[in-house]
């Protein structure tokens, strides 16, 4: 598995989670402590074939682990791998929150250099903004 250089994100893991049916399947497996293609198929509006296909995707990225139990394979969520995916998702959100904060600081610093010394002079702020627009800024 490779991670991009921009943030430490596993695209293959994200693709697996980026599907609403697979997320519903993970929910069911978590709530019920495990399941099979049959038990999941009974609770989802998709064919058993589709369930099996989705289980394959989840299995390949390690979000579920399979055990042979009787005639069917029984799947359980791999909590560590799910936690890893959640941490990566959170880290992207955190990175963007930090970027928004930097945008705010940079913009407010620029605004302060464009405003006159006293904060209460709203009229002259308005005037100076007009003036700087006229000067082609």
């Amino acid at each position: 598995m490779t991670a991009t250089l921009v943030e430490d994100v596993d695209d293959v893991l994200w693709s697996a989670i980026g599907d609403p049916t697979r997320r519903r399947m993970l929910d069911l497996l978590l709530v019920e402590g495990g399941g099979t293609a049959t038990t999941l198929g009974q609770q989802l509006p998709v064919t058993r074939q589709a369930v099996a296909k989705h289980l394959g995707v989840l299995d390949r990225v390690g979000l579920v682990r399979a055990r042979t139990a009787g005639r069917e394979r029984r799947y359980q969520v791999d909590q560590a791998q799910l936690a890893r995916a959640v941490a990566q998702l959170s880290s992207v959100g955190t990175a963007w929150d930090a970027r928004l904060q930097r945008i705010k600081r940079i913009a407010e610093a620029i605004q302060r250099t464009q405003d006159p010394q006293h904060e209460s002079q709203h009229e002259s702020q308005h005037d100076s903004q007009h003036a700087s627009r006229d000067q082609g800024e």
């Binding site: 921009v6 963007w96 928004l100 945008i103 705010k104 940079i106 913009a107 903004q129």
Partner: protein, 69 residues
Amino acid sequence: MEFGSIAREIYVEASPEVVFDVVSSPDHLKEWWPDEARYEPMPGSAGETVFGDRDAGAVVMTATPELWS
């Protein structure tokens, strides 16, 4: 693959013109996102943004006018 959206609201004590400049001009963009940015902030312009160290496997995003047509 489905696409969702994530929205954030942030209050900035600056005019829309100033904020737009910070989120669009290459000299400001470099201060909060890519390591390098070179482009004209106009629709259809060519340019690039670079994430990381060019000599050490940086991610280079390029845009050319053909992409916009």
